[in-house]
Subunit: 378 residues, 2 copies
């Protein structure tokens, strides 16, 4: 099948860019001396997971139990479910164990830690648990110096059927870094915090075999990961406009794009309309705070090239995207209705979630070489 035969809007994955993105971070993990446990919340796709885990332990990270179940079905048996566990979900985790998949969970809460022990007994299960740390992101996790760290560690370690696997943190504030030095400094704070928490647990006589950190900017720019043994970046497999803007990649590394069709022209407003709106692109506005604000996406020609002036999706409604030139006037004669364009997403994780899968191509070639399904939902 040819790209031109696909109905729009639809999601395109450039396989060569994907492979290059994966190779770059894989080499970083080797250089830094840590295992790569890629976060599959971005791709949610077994084919991508197979490429991303090559040359590493084979472990992956997921953000939902639906992902864990999907990847277990596709042969991935070492899974870290890295979003704070709600105790009622432990029955599904136990069911995965009986199917042969090892699925660890995380918490930052003493009540949950105790409840995991209760459920392990009730379900006759064995749960591996990581303690989530807050190393500056302010989303979830306990402070590295918190008294709760030892209390949670002890509650987990002493409960029959519970294994304290280690500590885990995500320094999401790397996304706020204004340059590579700032991102490297956040990555160092993340590393130092995670290592300090591990040392505190060990000093209290508790095990802490795994020290896990990660985000794509930190994986890209961390200068040393001494004391860490696991890295969990996610969006690097695809990259996106926001990651390019904060220096995680070049814009030409962005591997996913939405294929869209021009449906109308409004020269009096300097606008065209495309059939990719807020559902097809997502309403993520990550680039609102970036050096270059592309609205809801960066619009390129149908080969993802630069033959057109820079264009942004400036407004969306559910199925309409309104496109303007970043400066100057759109070439309306080259953007007639029916013309295909490609939109690079602000945030690949959110855009990809609107689709059932990826039409894979190689570079700017017109041939769709595969359709790779993905899993959505919970």
């Amino acid at each position: 099948m040819k790209l031109a035969e696909l109905d729009t809007p639809t999601l395109i994955l450039d396989r060569r860019r994907l492979q290059a993105n994966i190779a770059r971070i894989s080499a970083r993990a080797h250089d830094l001396g840590v295992d790569l446990r890629p976060h599959m919340k971005t791709a949610k796709c077994a084919e991508v997971a197979r490429l991303a885990t090559a040359g590493h332990s084979g472990g992956i990270t997921v953000s939902t139990l639906k992902e864990a179940e999907y990847f277990a079905e596709h042969g991935f048996n070492d899974i870290a479910y890295a979003v704070g566990i709600a105790p009622a979900k432990l029955a599904r985790v136990a069911a995965l164990h009986t199917r042969g998949a090892r699925v660890s969970v995380v918490t930052d809460n003493i009540d949950v830690a105790r409840e995991i022990g209760v459920r392990a007994r009730a379900l006759d299960a064995r749960f591996e648990v990581m303690i989530e740390l807050d190393t500056g992101d302010g989303r979830a996790g306990i402070g590295v110096e918190s008294d709760d760290l030892i209390a949670i560690g002890r509650a987990l370690h002493e409960a029959p059927g519970v294994v304290l696997r280690g500590v885990l943190t995500h320094a999401g504030q790397t996304y706020q870094g204004k340059n590579i030095d700032e991102i490297a400094a956040v990555a160092e704070a993340e590393r130092a915090g995670a290592v300090r928490a591990a040392e505190r647990l060990r000093a209290a006589g508790l095990p802490c075999p795994v020290v896990s950190v990660g985000s794509t900017p930190a994986a890209t720019h961390a200068r040393n990961l001494g004391g860490v043994n696991e890295l969990r970046p996610g969006v690097y497999v695809f990259q996106d406009v926001f990651q390019a803007e904060i220096g995680s990649c070049a814009m030409s590394d962005v591997a996913v794009s939405v294929l869209a069709t021009v449906t109308g022209q409004h020269p009096e407003r300097g606008e065209i309309v495309i059939d990719a709106g807020g559902l097809a692109l997502s309403k993520d506005r990550s680039t609102a705070g970036a050096p270059r604000d592309v609205g809801y996406g960066l619009v390129l020609d149908s080969a993802c090239g630069g033959s057109l002036p820079e264009m942004h999706v400036v407004r969306v409604s559910q199925e309409h995207g309104i496109v303007k030139a970043a400066s100057g006037v759109l070439p309306f004669d080259r953007l007639k209705p029916g013309t295909r364009v490609r939109v690079l997403p602000n945030h690949a994780c959110f855009t990809a979630a609107a689709y059932d899968g990826y039409h894979a191509i190689d570079d700017a070639a017109e041939d769709v070489v595969a359709f790779w399904p993905r899993v959505n939902g919970w």
Copy 2:
């Protein structure tokens, strides 16, 4: 099944609220003397469409061809596809015709109008087309007084295999109305513009049997629809926090909510964490401009009641929602990890799109009485 047995996050539909919302707008359409052609872009669900079309012609509106195909499969044979047609999509429209569904399309572009004629001949098909008007929204559509109106009308009417069905407009600027009078004034401008365009077409000797307008605020507050014969509101079936904020409904009318679970507490920041993040709620920020900004959603107790202080989802990442009290302090002892809450969405169309379907309940009852699937994608 009980609500308490559902895994979270998941989507709940209160059937009694749905039915009341439908009854209210259905009565409005009868009072205004127009046919109701509900826009199914919100619900994308055959069960909801059956309720919403009861007592009217049975026609529906859709925003994607995937919806059109889904509803045709479920027995809906009079469908208006109300997003500007990309000519390459006409083959799918023709395929629906051969399966017995009547699917009209819209355009605002003279090149597309001519191409529809070309494709009708090439596909040996007959296309019903509406001309999209801009009555102030500035998204798509041509101006009511535009020369193109007559040119497009003539191109369509004179092409063999093409039927000019009429004019269609969506005054999306009702969403900016600051009070009921302002919304009623926008609805009147929408009505007057659509009627004026129809008169211009008829004066040029062209047919214009259908004059179609609609949005939920306009359907709620329009004072007269003289000259109009079709109304296409969508979100009214579910309503949402934004619609309540702009006066389309009461907050207690909102029929969809996301069931979520508390996974962590951060009293030092005055925050709890729930397992409904940016994918489960959507990143829509409609209420950013509303009198009350609820962030990414309004958090209520598990029965969708007001037993807790007002809480908002103030930040989201992919699977985390960060909840704060609107003022004062959260009752942390009543929001322990494992506690269920319900989140009313900013924008029901976007939140519902993250799910495969609806768990239907009746009022605050604990019984899940049905699972109603929905269609997503393109």
